[in-house]
Amino acid sequence: MAIDKRVATAAEALAGVKDGAVVMVSGFAGAGFPNALLEALRDSGPTGLTLVANSATHPLSLTHTLIEAGMVTKVIASAARGRGQELSSFEQQWRDGKIELECVPQGNFSERIRAGGAGIPAFYTPVGYGTELGEDKEIREFKGRPCVLEDAITGDLALIRGDVGDRFGNIKFRYAQMNFGVAMATACTTTVAEVREAVDGAIPPVEVQLPSVYVNHVVAVGGEV
């Protein structure tokens, strides 16, 4: 049967997400947030989720709606500070001990996800050594430079946003929309990509930025270019 990974709705693509799942969410600096998928995930209501997202508090990402709905018990992120003096929904639940936070330098964050997708269980890096974020990690010196051991991160579900997808699951991004999407897709058992447009034909091979092998479902959600 001809491969066709396109599904009609975000809800269909996200049916059966289990309680306790590790969910990665792409997006950074206002680009690449899979907000249609996040709405559908909130509506489907799994609980006890671990959220792997660069920011837990970015105002343009709907990750906060999962947090407000009480569906998240752990966050792995490089940024978790709400804007202004008022506490964000994340900060309130974190302060109250309802959500555990693992704060990770952004490069360690992306590299841990990359490693997870590439079959590398852990790696050494100088980033974080000598800081609070490197405490309690194994230390080893390379060429006289102390490094910390960082574990890979893998997940059950990656939610990413692209520009164009095809029926094979190939994805093209628009400029800085790419950010964490590629690495997260490689590191999760199931990847759902929301795209502006899902095409009938195939994306030309040299234009594919995320190859089909990493993508399970493609949902066209429209939106501006």
């Binding site: 680009a31 964000s88 952004q106 400029y175 800085a176």
Partner: protein, 225 residues
């Protein structure tokens, strides 16, 4: 002249960026440095979200929600720019491919230790972003900050009191009243505001600071904020 305003501080740091270099500018005042480049410098600005070649901010007509910098500003791309994913972006940063990063700071120690990511604000979530990766991975880390806190306390210290971003990473500090190098022998003032003088500079520094034999007057053109 009186103490430099923030635009003048950004101007002063911009004058020292080498022609042909690749530079990452931190959020806040450091981003302003790109406004004051001397005309004879051809420089690529890198942003953590995956842009190599950030141009000026976009005007209303040419904004694209997917062409943004790490501070979520809608920007343009310069000639020769490229866009990559977060893994590749942090390979540039962590792999030593960035010549200079200019970051803000709370405190710098005389051994080059940097504290710029966690001011210990109660209940507010942490935000480390790419600061640790930049401080460790860039070939040179420069700091752009006020010489003292709002309360007049020193920021140049023997030992940082706030959580470290990275040990032994700062090479140079641009402030409103002085330009200071961090050397194996500690702080060395390279330029001091004429109206401040060496005695006042020492009294406003939290540890020993040497005056370079060829120390100059710190100057900047009139620039409004």
């Amino acid at each position: 002249m009186s103490a430099l305003n923030r635009s003048q501080m950004a101007w002063r740091a911009a004058q020292d960026l080498p022609d042909g270099s690749v530079v990452n500018l931190g959020l806040g005042m450091p981003v302003w440095v790109s406004n004051y480049l001397p005309v004879d410098r051809d420089i690529f600005f890198q942003s953590e979200n995956g842009i190599l070649g950030v141009g000026p901010q976009a005007d209303e007509d040419s904004q694209d929600r997917n062409i943004v910098d790490a501070g979520s500003r809608r920007v343009t791309l310069r000639e020769g720019a490229s866009v990559v994913d977060s893994v590749n972006s942090f390979a540039m940063i962590r792999g030593g491919h960035i010549n200079v990063t200019i970051l803000g700071a709370f405190e710098v120690a005389s051994n080059g230790d940097l504290a710029n990511w966690d001011a210990r604000v109660p209940s507010k979530g942490p935000l480390v972003g790419g600061a640790m990766d930049l401080a460790v991975g860039a070939k040179a880390t420069w700091i752009l900050m006020q010489f003292n806190t709002k309360d007049g306390a020193p920021r140049l210290l023997k030992t940082c009191t706030l959580p470290l971003t990275a040990p032994h990473c700062v090479k140079r500090i641009y402030t409103d009243i002085a330009v200071v190098d961090v050397t194996p022998d500690g702080f060395v003032a390279r330029e001091i505001l004429a109206t401040v003088g060496t005695d006042e500079l020492r009294s406003r520094t939290g540890t020993a600071i040497a005056i370079a034999p060829d120390c100059q007057a710190l100057n900047a053109p009139e620039i409004s904020l």
